[in-house]
């Protein structure tokens, strides 16, 4: 009997191995919210993040000269812009005081290097070398000097994983800077984003700048998301099909800033409270 069992196992060992491994994979898919799984994820991110941190210097080294030149130019531009913004802010404060408007909250920024990109087709994420000990938490937005890049989804003490805008799971409440038309930014694949839920009658033109709106629970308002490249009314639909070119070039994403804004839990709870 044992001999026959042994022969059976030997004969079908490949199928038994693949069967067991597929069963483990399916079980893992079913156990995703388990706290132990989250702990294992954190350990994996820390371990590989340490290695990525070491390897990450290689491409940066070759790019250093070009990067230095670009940064000097950027520094000059930004210094000029800071002066102008300082004046604008003072003016804004005076006007707000006159109108009695509430001051917008100010956020801190944590600089982080992109030490890994996990480009798994529709689930694109980046690993950052800043984590909980730098004040980074899940759901915090990440930006570059050009605009919104994504959102933190997992953290360890030294590293964080962020979904970039090229991720099927991310949604951003946004609006057109010029006409204040609202919509939802989603990625449906390709190199552009889609601004959805925009009625055909609303004023949208190619070249309009898209920014984050006040309706978002996670992203502070006013962050540049991208520029509209085309807007056309889809046949048989009440809504427009709007394509947005992201402000951030994700193929060159090397440094980002995490905006240390904690989503307002009161607001989220209220918005998700079942209607009575």
């Amino acid at each position: 009997m044992i001999q026959r069992l042994y022969e059976f196992v030997f004969l079908f060992k490949e199928y038994l191995v693949v069967g067991v491994l597929l069963a483990v994979s399916v079980t893992l898919l079913a156990l995703n919210d388990d706290p132990q799984i989250r702990t294992i994820r954190t350990v994996a991110v820390v371990s590989v993040g340490t290695l990525q941190d070491a390897v990450g210097i290689i491409p940066n080294y070759f790019d250093l000269r070009r990067e230095n030149h670009v940064l000097r130019e950027l520094n000059l531009t930004l210094a000029d812009e800071v002066n102008r913004l300082r004046e604008a802010r003072l003016e804004n404060l005076r006007l707000r005081q006159l109108l009695g408007l509430k001051e917008r909250g100010e956020f801190g920024f944590v600089a982080a290097n992109v030490i890994g990109k996990n480009l798994q087709l529709l689930r694109n994420t980046v690993t950052l070398d800043a984590g909980e000990r730098n004040g980074v938490r899940a759901d915090m937005p990440i930006v570059t000097e050009n605009g919104l890049a994504g959102k933190i989804v997992a953290t360890s003490s030294r590293f964080a994983v962020a979904q970039i805008l090229y991720n099927k799971d991310i949604r951003v409440s946004a609006k057109i800077e010029r006409s204040r038309v609202d919509g939802i930014i989603r990625w449906e694949g390709g190199s552009t984003l889609a601004l959805q839920d925009v009625a055909k009658t609303l004023d949208i033109q190619a070249g309009d700048v898209v920014i984050t709106s006040e309706y978002s629970s996670f992203f502070p308002p006013g962050i540049r998301v991208g520029v509209i490249t085309s807007a056309r009314g889809a046949e048989g639909s009440l809504f427009q099909s709007v394509e947005v070119r992201p402000a951030v070039d994700f193929s060159r994403l090397e440094e980002v800033f995490v905006i240390t804004s904690i989503p307002d839990s009161d607001r989220i709870a209220l918005e998700h409270r079942p209607r009575e």
Binding site: L28, V45, V48, K117
Partner: protein, 163 residues
Amino acid sequence: MRQTFIDIALTLMVVLLQTTIAQYLAVAGFSPDIALIWIVYLSIRRGQITGTVAGFLVGLVLDLLSGNDGMLGLAALSKTVGGFTAGYFFNENKTVQTLGSYRFILIILSVSLVHNLIYFIIFLQGSGAHWWQAILLYGIPAALYTAAVGLIPTFVFARRALL
């Protein structure tokens, strides 16, 4: 035994390459699946069981690093099937010939298509999106690019076969 340790070390290196260097090889948003090429290589070189186990482990590590909630096990599952499928092309007496010829590219392409098919069918469950559209728009181009990158090891093995 020594060979096993070397394979494990190289597998870890490939995972590291996939999460660091692969981004620099991206064309039109598609990155090559270096990890899958390595899994196919292991299946052809060491056999179906090794390829299957390597596929599972590599996929699991990539899953753990993805940070996305709700999909742990997806890459493990699709890469396990990838390793298993590639294992059907294992022939102990023709390993170098297979790796150094167009057959290796065709194997990578077919395994990559199977891998992407499984990935998208499961990933898009409940999303309302059509998996066949995802396959057309991403699965096939990504598989073609992965197969194209597979030309590099093929040339290396072709040279080795000639020497």
